[in-house]
């Protein structure tokens, strides 16, 4: 194994072209992460077409650079302007921005930067150690286990998608249906083609994702004319000299927080659907609970910066563990990363690490090396970021829309792919407006074919449907799926019980009953109805 790691390391680290491309990728990721309204997923999408002509290892190194840079880029805007660049840097704003305003911008940026670096390094070590073992375990999975794992991944995405679980489920089902269109994988029979040869080929994976996510996001960004015409940021920020030495010393002095937050990030990344947007807040919360100086949090606490930044970069490693070992994307970013790998004929899964060890370890080493680029390029990215933020959103959006069209065309050299992107862009935009979460649909599109293939294999091997509940791993994933669906209801019930115990003076009062069952007092016209978990009861 050591030989393979050395060979993979040499292919990434000793090739100046690969290193240069990784540097460019990291810079692009840092910028995408830093600009509010852009996300890491957008960075990955926009960089992807440039990797088409590269060798697999070069393409993967570039994408890893974007991936790692994106997770760290958010800290620049959140610290300097108080606006989080990405959802994964929201908690950094709580203490990063106050520290900058208190006159320590160099230290604040340094703390964020080095916490991201150390968090990423810890997760890289865990990635190299754990992913092959998890893949080895994955080799024992039968199609029943795989299908149940996919069900779990989809249900947990739905349960984390917000208040309206029904809309999340519908979005997930629409994604699964979109993956059904075209020739089926098993029999090669056309489905829902309506006589079109293009549709018969099915919807290519990336135009659908770019449409659903990037196209719809850009349209939302230019919706408000006044905002679209104004520069991206009103708060002016200046380039700052980062205090590296002091920041490294401070981060290492708070090593318990660093390690705890990194492990929170890794664990959250491994979980399907839970990404950096959750881990940074969880880590911040735990750091605050563990601190002896809780009052300092929110006023520029050192640990309030270390925790979220270490956690969000560690999440990237955690998500890669699941993606590389089992081929299951954790969130939108990793779903697009899977698409990026597929462009280079790499289909992550349990056998991938065994079959293509050079490429697999190449990905791990690229992830490791990208963190060094991230540290080295942060100062340059900061200057670029300050330049980019002077551009109004409508200019960026217009150029990027055209760029998306060129990039999507370059995928298969057919115009139909651009139509697919446009069609799904319109669907994605209306879904956003109508309150449907996009993450379940994107995961549905990514996992749809895999789910169908595995259930077909399971039925092909045996008619015994009870295998889905008698095989331990399958049963485990199905139980987890049920728990993930029921958990939000449990949380709501707990909240209502808390209100019942602490707020209601007269527990038989009608208003109080509606608070207990509805979570809030009944509106006018409620009459003799109460709702419980979305179901209506007549009193």
């Amino acid at each position: 194994m050591f030989d393979v790691i050395l060979q993979a390391g040499a292919s990434v680290l000793l090739d100046p072209v690969t290193l240069g491309l990784m540097g460019i990728g990291t810079l692009a990721g840092l910028l995408a992460g830093a600009i509010p309204g852009f996300t890491i997923a957008m960075g990955v999408i926009l960089t992807l077409p440039f990797t088409f002509g590269m060798s697999p290892i070069q393409g993967l190194a570039t994408m890893m650079g974007v991936f790692v840079g994106g997770f760290s880029g958010g800290l620049m805007s959140c610290m300097l302007t108080g606006i989080p660049g990405t959802p994964s840097s929201v908690a950094t704003t709580f203490d990063g921005f106050p520290m900058v305003r208190s006159g320590k911008p160099g230290l604040a940026l340094g703390l964020g930067l080095w916490s991201s670096f150390f968090g990423g390094m810890i997760s890289a070590v865990i990635l190299v150690a754990l992913a092959p073992q998890l893949a080895f375990l994955g080799l024992e999975f039968g199609p029943w286990d795989y299908f149940s794992l996919i069900v779990f991944a989809l249900t947990i995405t739905v349960s984390l998608s917000g208040d309206n679980m029904i809309k999340g489920l519908i979005a997930g089902l629409l994604g699964l249906f979109a993956a059904c269109v075209g020739e089926d994988e098993i029999n090669g029979v056309a489905r829902f083609a309506f006589g079109s040869d293009h549709i018969r080929q099915g919807f290519a994976f990336l135009p659908v994702l770019i449409g659903l996510f990037a196209f719809s996001q850009l349209l939302s960004d230019v919706e408000d004319s006044a905002k679209a015409k104004a520069p991206l940021m009103k708060n002016s920020a200046e380039a700052i000299r980062v205090e590296h030495r002091k920041a490294i010393a401070t981060v290492l002095m708070n090593w318990i927080n660093l390690i705890r937050s990194s492990f929170i990030g890794i664990f959250t990344g491994i979980l399907p659907a839970a990404g950096g947007s959750i881990s940074n807040i969880l880590a911040y919360d735990q750091a605050k609970k563990a601190s002896n100086n809780r009052n300092e949090f929110g006023k520029g606490a050192v640990n309030g910066i270390i925790a979220p930044e270490a956690a969000n970069n560690a999440t990237a490693g955690g998500a890669l563990i699941m993606m590389m070992a089992l081929g299951i994307p954790g969130d939108i970013v990793t779903a697009i990363m899977i698409g990026a790998l597929m462009i280079h004929n790499i289909i992550p899964g349990p056998s991938f690490i065994q079959d293509e060890p050079l490429l697999a370890y190449g990905v791990f080493i690229a992830f490791f090396a990208a963190h060094f680029f991230m540290v080295g390029l942060q100062a340059f990215a900061l200057r670029l970021f300050l330049l980019v933020t002077r551009i109004p959103m409508y200019i960026l959006a217009s150029v990027i829309l055209a760029y998306c069209a060129i990039g999507v065309f370059a995928l298969h050299n057919i115009t139909f792919d651009i139509w697919v992107m446009f069609g799904f862009g319109v669907i994605g935009y209306f879904m956003r407006k109508l309150g449907f979460p996009l993450a379940p649909m994107i995961l549905g599109v990514v996992l749809g074919k895999l789910a169908e293939l595995n259930i077909a294999r399971a039925i092909g091997i045996s008619d015994d449907y009870s295998l889905f509940i008698t095989r331990p791993w399958s049963l485990f994933f199905l139980i987890m799926a049920i728990v993930s669906v029921l958990f939000p209801f449990y949380q709501n019930a707990k909240k209502r019980y808390f209100i019942y115990k602490n707020v209601c003076s007269n527990k038989h009062d009608f208003t109080c009953l509606t608070i207990i069952f509805n979570g809030k007092p009944c509106q006018n016209g409620c009459g003799r109805y109460i709702t419980f978990s979305g179901m209506l009861f007549h009193l």
């Binding site: 230019v222 055209a402 370059a410």
Partner: protein, 162 residues
């Protein structure tokens, strides 16, 4: 934009969509092989979609009946709010429809220039700025893809003749 009324409309639309697709799934050929048929999985997905859409319809309808009339009246489609998005849709559609004639280079420049001008404004200074942005950005990308990545982008009738 969302409220109970809009959710009712969406749920009905989803039910109609599922109905059309379930009906079309009967046209999927059965090759007579053992194992799972080609129409089985899509049907499972579509029937689940029917169930979920029905639940959404029921929930929205019941909420619609229980909240005050004033709350229900709040839903209206304000087209002015979506003006920019509609402009983007229209321009992109125009760009795609004319791609075979104009090609990616000319079509792309015209698309970006048109969109920038419609979204940003029509003053002389802005028009010059938009023209520069569109020519430089699309020209640069066209060169990167054509010469750097060796992607043959649509040439279009005009460039072909010229």
């Amino acid at each position: 934009m969302t409220n109970n009324k809009s959710d009712i409309i969406i749920a009905i639309f989803l039910l109609c969509f599922s109905g059309v697709m379930i009906n079309d799934s009967s046209n999927i050929r059965d090759l007579g092989f053992e194992g799972m048929k080609a129409d089985a999985w899509p049907r499972v997905v579509l029937w689940l979609l029917v169930v979920m859409s029905s639940v959404m319809l029921g929930k929205s309808y019941l909420k619609f009946k229980t909240v005050s009339d004033k709350d229900n009246e709040n839903f209206s489609i304000n087209l002015a709010k979506f003006k920019n998005a509609l402009i983007c849709f229209g321009m992109f559609m125009l760009f795609l429809s004319t791609l075979d004639y104009l090609g990616m280079l000319i079509g792309g420049i015209l698309f970006v220039f048109g969109l920038l001008t419609l979204l940003g404004g029509f003053s002389h200074k802005l028009i010059v700025k938009h023209l520069l942005v569109s020519i430089l950005s699309i020209g640069f990308m066209w060169m990167v893809f054509t010469f750097g990545l060796r992607v043959i982008l649509p040439e279009g009738e005009i460039l072909r003749v010229w």
